[in-house]
């Protein structure tokens, strides 16, 4: 975990109100697990809280990492105005539990399901899986055609099977990611998912098979981002305890936590 001024290499719009920010700096060396995130200090003295954003890709050779964010409010709105050469203060990589990309074996059925800006960490996961020779299937859900991003990037990963769903049917297949999941002939061995809480719940309750090793990346409003403020807790599956999403997550096995 480092706190560092990273340099903006590029900040480009890749879909409706969705931007891809490429950053460079020594912090990149420490990134080694999909699902971990950066706690982004947005410029402006009126904002006391940082913004957690998942790492979407890392290129250790070039020394850069990428995050993809959607303009949702004041913080992401300001990020969208950053330009190449700007410095942004980043704390990270954060989270002790990412997607267990080292576990799936070659030949196993590995499915990644992402909704909206839940897609980015899955792209990093897909890259790592493919690197290990594991082929992946991906279901990407977006509200509408204009919101779609990373479809091509997933297609370019060797052997990657990509299915894009839009809520309004304006592109790809109409319907939700759960519809797509239900259409699959058999439950996957591994299921990594990230997206709105409702989507994750629907996957867990309606579609996740008991034999599937399912993992979800959770979002919650955060204070410290490192486990010190108890802002981001979720209940454990058995109700007996809790987890700090920022530190003990943000990825959990389905049964580990209550969605």
């Amino acid at each position: 975990m480092k706190n560092e001024q990273m340099m903006v290499v590029e900040n480009k719009t890749i879909a409706a109100k969705t931007h891809e920010l490429t950053l460079s700096g020594p912090l990149v060396d420490a990134i080694d697990q999909p699902g971990t995130f950066l706690h982004v200090a947005v410029p402006g003295d009126d904002l006391v809280l940082r913004r957690p954003i998942s790492i979407a890709a890392v290129d250790q050779d070039v020394g850069t990492c990428t995050i993809v964010y959607k303009e949702m409010g004041v913080g992401t709105g300001r990020l969208a105005r950053s330009r190449a050469g700007d410095q942004l203060e980043m704390l990270g990589p954060l989270g002790e539990q990412g997607f267990p990309v080292e576990k799936p074996q070659v030949g196993e059925d590995v499915l990644l399901i992402g909704g909206g800006v839940g897609v980015p960490p899955l792209y990093y996961a897909a890259c790592e899986l493919v690197k290990r020779g594991v082929t992946v299937s991906v279901i990407l859900g977006f509200q509408t055609a204009a919101a779609i991003f990373y479809e091509r990037e997933f297609h370019e990963l060797p052997g990657c099977d990509v299915r894009v769903m839009t809520d309004d049917g304006s592109n790809g297949h109409p319907g939700t990611v759960v519809d797509a999941l239900n259409e699959r002939p058999s439950p996957p061995d591994w299921l990594f998912s990230c997206g709105p809480r409702g989507m994750l719940r629907a996957i867990e309750t309606h579609a996740a098979h008991p034999k599937t090793n399912g993992y979800v990346s959770l979002e919650e409003r955060m204070g410290c981002g490192i486990g010190a403020c108890f802002a981001c807790v979720c209940e454990t599956g058995d109700g007996s305890s809790y987890r700090k999403i920022c530190r003990e997550g943000p990825v959990f096995a389905f049964k580990e936590v209550v969605l």
């Binding site: 706190n3 006391v48 940082r50 919650e220 204070g223 403020c229 108890f230 802002a231 979720c234």
Partner: protein
């Protein structure tokens, strides 16, 4: 960091290398920040508010952002006094830093129980009674507004505590009431005061019409509240010589100077740790050049130049 005798501050129970400590609830029990810097650099560590039994706290979302501030409604999540005694304090004992043990409860008995459990921990330098937490319905707040209740609680805790006791006051009172509270707990034997806790606040999501916090209301902290904190410290300093640990919106060494001038003897830093996890050591490192600039020999000197009774 070299030892800076100019920064040393000695308060009841707390022999501090410098006047800066992280504020309760913003630093848990130090483990996470210990990965970032050496906790021995700090003047003291105020630990997360501790209750008799473990508490799981409020539903999420528990934080919301506001202009130059934040709301929190953590709901005093903590592992309970015994676990703090057995697992957290020993960890902190690995550092050369005194602990200010923040105590909460729903009843006076619970405060007394927590203090009894923690008072013999060697690294607990003093207690800080959180009589003003706005986030727990059943507890806290009545002690925070009623001078008699606050005094009775202080006296009860003093009876069992082997360490000095600071009482943490709420800003959610009238100015007259704040002074009455300070005088009441002083008369009941308090060794010091901490102020301020958070201001009661609320945010609503304009997109949905619903409160952002699951708990609806929460405590406002951060730079937004700094003027309220300075005013209360200044007011209370007019009526008592008790040591004051000042807090509320501190982000910089300049802010620390402002609090010392207002009448604080030491300061605590909460929200700013979230903005910049290195804020405490950074400020500590910058304080000597402020003393130079102001031509002050030491923090104690500066304090004497400020507001006094």
């Amino acid at each position: 960091m070299e030892k800076e005798p100019r920064l040393q501050v000695t308060l009841p129970g707390l022999t501090m290398k410098n006047p800066v400590m992280p504020a309760s609830g913003c630093f848990a029990f130090g483990r996470e920040y210990a990965e970032l810097f050496d906790l021995s650099e700090l003047g003291a560590v105020a630990i997360k508010g501790t209750t008799g039994e473990a508490r799981f706290g409020n539903p999420t979302p528990r934080v919301a952002e506001t202009s130059s501030g934040m709301l929190n409604a953590i709901g005093l999540q903590n592992p309970g006094a015994q676990a703090v005694r057995d697992e957290e304090l020993p960890f902190l004992a690995g550092y050369d830093v005194p602990v200010l043990a923040n105590v909460s409860g729903s009843t006076p008995e619970e405060y007394v129980e927590v203090v009894q459990t923690l008072t013999d921990a060697p690294n607990v330098g003093a207690f800080e009674l959180n009589i003003s937490c706005p986030n727990v319905k059943e507890g806290g707040i009545q002690f925070g507004t009623d001078p008699d209740a606050a005094a009775a609680l202080t006296a009860a805790v003093k009876q069992v505590s082997t360490k000095p006791v600071y009482v943490k006051l709420s800003p959610n009172v009238t100015d007259v009431n704040a002074i009455a509270l300070a005088l009441a707990v002083e008369a009941a034997g308090a060794d010091g005061l901490s102020l301020i806790n958070t201001l009661l606040g609320m945010r609503i999501d304009a997109h949905t019409g619903k409160p952002i916090l699951a708990n609806e209301k929460g405590g406002l902290s951060g730079p937004a509240v700094k003027p309220v904190a300075l005013r209360m410290i200044h007011d209370v300093r007019q009526v008592t010589n008790l040591p004051i640990i000042g807090m509320g919106g501190i982000q910089s060494a300049e802010d620390v100077i402002e609090f010392l001038f207002a009448g604080a003897d030491a300061v605590a830093i909460g929200t700013a740790n979230f903005t910049n996890p290195f804020v405490c050591p950074t400020i500590i490192r910058e304080l000597p050049s402020w003393l130079d600039y102001l031509a002050m020999e030491s923090v104690g000197d500066l304090r004497q130049q400020g507001v006094n009774i």
